[in-house]
C-alpha cells in the first residue's frame, strides 16, 4: 500500500500567535515552528497501518524552507520519504489554494490512502481534507477516531457532535484523524540518524505543474479587511472563599439574570 501523510508546520501551541501588519498573514517568524500536533497522530496512524499491512509512507508538506524540519521529524519517526512543495509564490495561499496545490502534487502518484490531521492548530479551519477529497474525487473518511481495514475496505468511526458515525469506503481514500486516535511515538536516536539518508523531493510551483494564478495571496478567494488585538477584558471581581463562595456566585448569577 502507498500512503501519503500531509503535514503542516505551525507556530508552537504554547506561543502567542499574531498576524503580520504588512500582509495580514500569520507571523511565522515570531514563534518556533513545530509539526501541527494533530498531524503527529496522522503520521503515527500511517506507521501503524504500515506495520500491520505493509505500506510505504510518504510525508507531504507545503511551506517555507524551514517547514522541511517537519518532514525530517516524520522521517525520524519512521516514514520512508518526503515531498516538500516550497516556493515564495505560495505565501499567503488560503485553504482553496492549498487544497488545489496538494491535490495536484498527490494526483497520479498512486497513493491508496492520503492521511491528514483533522485540523491545524493555527488556522483551525478543518476543511482541507474535505477539499482535497472533493478535488480528487476520492472517498472522504474524515474525523476518524478509529480506523479498521478489511482487504481494501476501510471503515472508520467518524466523530460527530452527537456521538459517532460508522463510515466505510474502498481505497483509495482521504482519511483525517482526530487527537487521541493513537499515541504518537517519539523519534529514536536510530530513527533520527536514518532520517538523514531518506529521500526528500523538493518541488517548486513550476515543478509541480501548478498554475501560478491559482496559488499565493493574490489568488486568495477571501481577503482580510482589518484586524486588531482583542481589547483586554475589564477586570472582574475576585473574592476569597470564606465558607460562602457558592452563595456569592449565586448572587452574581442572579444579578446577571442566569438564575
Amino acid at each position: 500500500m502507498k500512503i501519503a501523510v500531509c503535514v503542516k508546520q505551525v507556530p508552537d501551541t504554547w506561543a502567542e500567535k499574531k498576524l503580520r501588519s504588512d500582509d495580514s498573514t500569520l507571523d511565522r517568524e515570531a514563534a518556533d515552528g513545530v509539526m501541527n500536533e494533530l498531524d503527529e497522530y496522522a503520521v503515527e496512524e500511517a506507521l501503524q497501518i504500515g506495520e500491520a499491512h505493509g505500506a510505504e509512507v510518504t510525508i507531504v508538506t507545503m511551506g517555507p524552507e524551514r517547514a522541511g524540519e517537519t518532514i525530517r521529524k516524520a522521517l525520524s519517526m519512521g516514514a520512508d520519504a518526503g515531498i516538500h512543495l516550497v516556493d515564495d509564490g505560495l505565501h499567503g495561499s488560503d485553504a482553496l489554494a492549498t487544497s488545489y496545490a496538494l491535490a495536484t502534487i498527490l494526483e497520479g502518484r498512486g497513493f491508496d490512502l492520503i492521511i491528514f490531521g483533522s485540523e491545524s492548530t493555527d488556522a483551525r479551519m478543518s476543511v482541507v481534507p474535505a477539499m482535497v477529497a472533493e478535488r480528487m474525487g476520492l472517498a472522504q473518511l474524515t474525523f476518524a477516531q478509529k480506523v479498521e481495514f478489511e482487504g481494501t475496505q476501510v471503515t472508520i468511526d467518524r466523530v460527530t457532535d452527537s456521538g459517532y458515525d460508522t463510515v466505510t469506503a474502498s481505497l483509495p481514500a482521504v482519511l483525517s484523524v482526530v487527537e487521541k486516535i493513537n499515541e504518537p511515538r517519539y523519534p529514536s536516536f536510530k530513527g533520527i540518524m536514518a532520517a538523514k539518508k531518506k529521500p526528500v523531493e523538493t518541488l517548486t510551483v513550476a515543478d509541480a505543474g501548478l498554475d501560478m494564478a491559482r496559488v499565493g495571496a493574490s489568488a486568495s478567494w477571501s481577503a482580510v479587511v482589518d484586524f486588531a488585538a482583542r481589547p483586554p477584558k475589564a477586570a472582574g471581581t475576585v473574592v476569597t472563599d470564606e465558607g460562602n463562595g457558592g452563595v456569592k456566585i449565586a448572587d452574581f448569577l442572579v444579578g446577571q439574570k442566569f438564575i
Binding site: 494533530l38 477539499m131 472533493e134 457532535d161 474502498s170 475576585v238
Partner: protein, 318 residues
Amino acid sequence: MGEVLVLVEQVDGVVKKVTTELLTLAGSLGEPSAVWVGPGYSAAAEAILAEFGSSVVYVAESPELAAHPVAPKAEVLAHLVAEKAPVAVLVASTADGKEAAGRLAVRIDSGVITDAVAITADLIATQSVFGGSTVVHSRVTSGTPIFTVRPNATPPVASTGAAARSDVSISLSDGAKKASVTGSTAAVKGGRPELAEASIVVSGGRGVGSPEGFAVIEALADSLHGAVGASRAATDAGWYPHQYQVGQTGKTVSPQLYIANGISGAIQHRAGMQTSKTIIVVNKDAEAPIFELADYGVVGDLFSVVPQLTDEIAKRSA
C-alpha cells in the same frame, strides 16, 4: 433583498438551535431560505424554520442523501447556488458544516470564511482567531460568499410567518457516493445539551482530581441545564471523555456563561473558551491565569464552593 441560503442542522428530524441563530442572522443579510438535506422533514420542522424567518424551505429528502457523509450537502447547495444565485450561503461551524462548506467552495469556485461570529449587511465577517486573542474582519472576494458561523454568535429571534416548501432533487456525483454511512452511535450524555451549542458550559480541570470528582461538575451543569466540559489536563488523565475537551485541540465554545472549576487557564484551554460572554472561575490558586478572564472569581476549594452553588441554584430556582 437577495436570497440567503441556510443549511439546516438537524438530529433525527429535530432542528438544532444553531439553525435558528443562522436564520436570524440571514434575515439581517437578505431573505432567508432554509435548505434541508436528508429524510425526516416534517410539519414541525417547517414550523420552526418559518418561525425564525425562513420564507422558503428547499427540501431534498432522498434517503440516498443521508447515506453518504458531507458531500451530498455540498452538492445540494451547489445546485441551489447555480439555480437561485443567492447573495450568500450560511452553514453552522460544526465539523460536518465546515466540511460541507469547504466542498461547496471547491465545487462552485467561491471563497469561504469559517467560524464567523458576526456578519455585517455588506458581508464582512468577524472572526475571533488565535484562541480569541485577535479579531479579524474579512470578506469573500470571489464567487458566492460562503460563511460558516459559530453556534451562539447570534441570539435567535422568533417571529410569525409561514414557509413555502420547494422540493429539490439532484443526482449525486460518483465521488460523493464513494464513502457510505453504515451506522450512527449516540454518545451517552445524560440529557445534557451539546457542548458546542450549549448556552451554559460548566467545566472541570486538574483540580477536579479524579473521575468521581466530575460528579460535582455534572451536578452544577444539570442545575443550570448546561453542558459539561473539561480541560486537557482532565481528559488526558482519563477523568472525563476526550470529546468533552474544551481548548485549542478540542472544542471551541462561546456560551453565554462559562464556569471554569479547578482549571489553571493555560493558552491551550483559553483558546477554546475565552470568547464566552460571562466567565466564572473557581480555583484554589489565586495566581492561576484563568482569573484574568473572570467576570467573577472565587479563590477556594471547588469541592466546597461548587456543591454550595448547586444547592443555592436549586433553592433560588424553586
